[in-house]
Subunit: 191 residues, 2 copies
């Protein structure tokens, strides 16, 4: 890969301090004092600290994908997503994914495995979102929502779900990312 | 679409107030007092308010895609991305995309158009990220970085870029989302 830069490769800043700026329950706002290795001055940058997240692509034996619908307080609107949530301390991504799947929808499945991860926003967040694929999911339990959760669950044909991404019906960037990685894997080796 | 919910569709909460929690330059942290239409109590939720963003898929006449590399203060690491930034007040997404492309890389192109948008994170952010496709890009200018910017620029074959997403070399969720929408459009009508 040929990098064309003004002088050289971009340099790694030194993070001189990290201060909690505000604690917001699911994330904390940090002010970081940073120093560029070649420049005199330091600069304050703000970012969010949060545990890793997990999103679950849950596929039924009929090759449908499980979607959920929630009211989201950022956009103040409903979002069509896939199940997921915050990975608890000490929990691995697959365990967290299966837990969130069961809690949010009552579905359980087989052969759960990680299919990739992304940085939700490397500019202002420090965490990763892991993507877990679960096959042969079936509804075996009642959902167990957290205090503020209220979740609509639906099943859609896989091709319909991919079209919903392309048409913008599904527009949560993490869900678009998860389905993109899933689509490539499924195209290579379906089922 | 059949929604299976405990009782009904999820309900829309009423946002009773919005308070600035902390002003962090590129985003502000809001505390929102919210009331569920069927429940007695109110709850505070935290979210970030930010202008819309734009990301640019810039394709050369040789069908290469323009990538940039930056040190990112959220993850405290380098991220491989596509050009982009914050849309200025009163600016449209295409104009902002072309401006960021030129400032960050010195490249200009033709037939710029929006190919989609996502919510970066509807749970905790209120903004959209717009994706702009620019064709036949060529380097005509020197880059004009903002004070803290330092950007490595490279060109990669389109198929290589798609593989970098699948392999996790490109792992910024907004870039993965942009390239996913671009890939579907390009597959349908290349060039």
């Amino acid at each position: 890969m040929s990098i064309q830069s003004k002088n050289s490769e971009p340099r790694e800043w030194e993070i001189q301090s990290r201060h909690l700026h505000a604690d917001c329950r699911v994330f904390s706002v940090l002010r970081k004092k940073c120093k560029h290795p070649d420049r005199d001055s330091t600069r304050d940058f703000f970012s969010l600290s949060s545990p890793d997240w997990v999103n679950v692509v849950a596929v039924t034996p009929q090759r449908e994908v499980l979607l959920i619908k929630q009211f989201r307080f950022g956009v103040e609107d409903f979002a069509l997503e896939i199940p997921g949530g915050i990975i608890d301390e000490g929990e691995d991504a697959v365990t967290a994914g299966l837990r969130e799947l069961k809690e949010e929808t009552g579905y359980v499945g087989e052969n759960a495995r990680i299919i990739g991860n992304v940085w939700p926003n490397p500019a202002i967040m420090d965490n990763r979102c892991w993507f877990v694929l679960v096959k042969n999911v079936v509804k075996k339990f009642e959902s167990e929502w957290d205090g503020d959760e209220e979740i609509g669950v639906s099943l859609e044909e896989m091709e319909t779900v991919f079209r919903m991404v392309e048409e913008g019906t599904i527009k949560h960037a993490l869900v678009v990312s998860a389905l993109s990685l899933f689509r490539a894997i499924w195209a290579e080796k379906p089922g």
